[in-house]
C-alpha cells in the first residue's frame, strides 16, 4: 500500500491567516443552514424542481438557497419552515428563559437564610451544604 502524501500550501496558509474567526463562523452558519434545508428536502422526498414548485420559485432560486452563500430573509425562512415542516428560527427563547428563572427562584426559596447568604457571598465552604439543604427540603 502506498503511503499517502500530504501537502501544506504556503499561499493557502496566508489566505487562511487572513480569515477572522468571525468570518469563518459566518460562512459555517450559512453552509450549515443550506445543508439543513437540503436534508429536509431529501427527507420530504422531493427533488429540487418539486421543492421549487412547492415554494412558488424557479429551480435556479432554490440552487441559490442551497449554495451556502444566500442571505435569507426571515419571511423566506418561515416559508421554508412551513413547506418542509422543520424549525429553522428558534422562537422559544422567552419560554426557556422563564423556566430558568422559575427554577432559580425555587432554589433560592428552598435555602435557609444563612446558606442563601453564603452562596450570595460565594463562600465555597457552604456550597455542598447548600445542595444538601435544598435536596432535604425538596424531599422532606
Amino acid at each position: 500500500m502506498t503511503k499517502q502524501r500530504t501537502y501544506q500550501s504556503k499561499l493557502l496558509d496566508q489566505i487562511i491567516d487572513s480569515i477572522s474567526p468571525e468570518e469563518q463562523q459566518k460562512t459555517d452558519k450559512k453552509m450549515i443552514l443550506a445543508a439543513k434545508i437540503a436534508n429536509a428536502i431529501k427527507v420530504k422526498g422531493l427533488n429540487k424542481s418539486e421543492f421549487a414548485e412547492l415554494m412558488g420559485k424557479h429551480p435556479s432560486e432554490i440552487s441559490k438557497w442551497l449554495s451556502g452563500t444566500h442571505n435569507f430573509t426571515v419571511d423566506t425562512l418561515m416559508t421554508i419552515e412551513a413547506g418542509l415542516g422543520i424549525s429553522i428560527i428558534a422562537t422559544d427563547y422567552f419560554k426557556i428563559n422563564e423556566e430558568y428563572q422559575s427554577v432559580q427562584i425555587r432554589i433560592q426559596n428552598a435555602l435557609s437564610p444563612s446558606l442563601k447568604n453564603s452562596i450570595v457571598n460565594k463562600d465555597s465552604r457552604y456550597d455542598k451544604d447548600a445542595q444538601k439543604d435544598y435536596r432535604y427540603r425538596l424531599t422532606g
Binding site: M1, T2, Q4, R5, T6, Y7, Q8, S9, L11, L12, D13, I15, I16, S18, I19, E23, Q24, T27, D28, M31, I32, A34, A35, A38, S63, K64, L66, S67, G68, T69
Partner: protein, 159 residues
C-alpha cells in the same frame, strides 16, 4: 500524463478531505490556481477557502455546494465558486460528501466553456484525471478508507 494525488493538510477535517494533483514537473494544480488568481480575485479566493473549510469541518462536501454537470455524466467533475453568479471557477472531482480533488480553473469570460482555452484545458484535464482514477478504483488499486475520508492504495500515476 503523469501525476500523483496529494492530500491538502489545511483542508483535512472531520467531514471531508480535499486532495489536489501534483504533475510530473512538480506543479501543484490548486496552488497554481491560487497563484494565478490571488492578485485580482483575493476576496473570491478567501471566500472559496472559507467554504472549503466549512465543508471539511462542518457539513461535508455536499453536492449542492458545487456547480454540477461540468464533465461527462457520472465522472464527478464539478466546479466550486465563491458565489453562484461568480465567473471564477475551480474545477473539482467529487467523490460523495467525503472526498474532493481540487484542480485548476479560472474566470469564465466566454459564453461556453469550449470558447475559453484556459478553462477548457483545465476542465479537460479533470475529466482525464477522473477517468484514470476510475480505472484504478475499478481494478481495486484505489479504495476508500473505512471512514470514507481518504483514498487508500496507489495514488501515483506514473505508468
Amino acid at each position: 500524463m503523469k501525476f500523483s494525488l496529494i492530500k491538502i493538510e489545511q483542508f483535512s477535517g472531520e467531514r471531508s478531505t480535499f486532495y489536489t494533483i501534483q504533475l510530473e514537473d512538480g506543479v501543484v494544480l490548486f496552488d497554481e490556481f491560487l497563484e494565478e488568481n490571488s492578485k485580482i480575485y483575493e476576496k473570491e479566493l478567501k471566500n472559496i477557502t472559507q467554504r472549503i473549510r466549512s465543508m471539511a469541518n462542518q457539513t461535508g462536501a455536499q453536492e449542492h455546494f458545487f456547480r454540477q454537470k461540468e464533465g461527462k455524466p457520472g465522472d464527478g467533475v464539478c466546479a466550486l465558486y465563491d458565489q453562484p453568479k461568480s465567473k471564477l471557477r475551480l474545477y473539482c472531482i467529487r467523490y460523495g460528501n467525503a472526498i474532493v480533488i481540487l484542480g485548476g480553473g479560472g474566470r469564465k469570460t466566454t459564453r461556453t466553456l469550449q470558447e475559453d482555452p484556459k478553462l477548457d484545458k483545465e476542465n479537460k484535464l479533470m475529466r482525464e484525471l477522473s477517468q484514470k482514477i476510475t480505472v484504478r478504483v475499478k481494478a481495486g488499486e484505489i479504495d476508500f478508507s473505512v471512514d470514507e475520508l481518504e483514498f487508500i492504495g496507489n495514488l501515483e500515476f506514473y505508468d
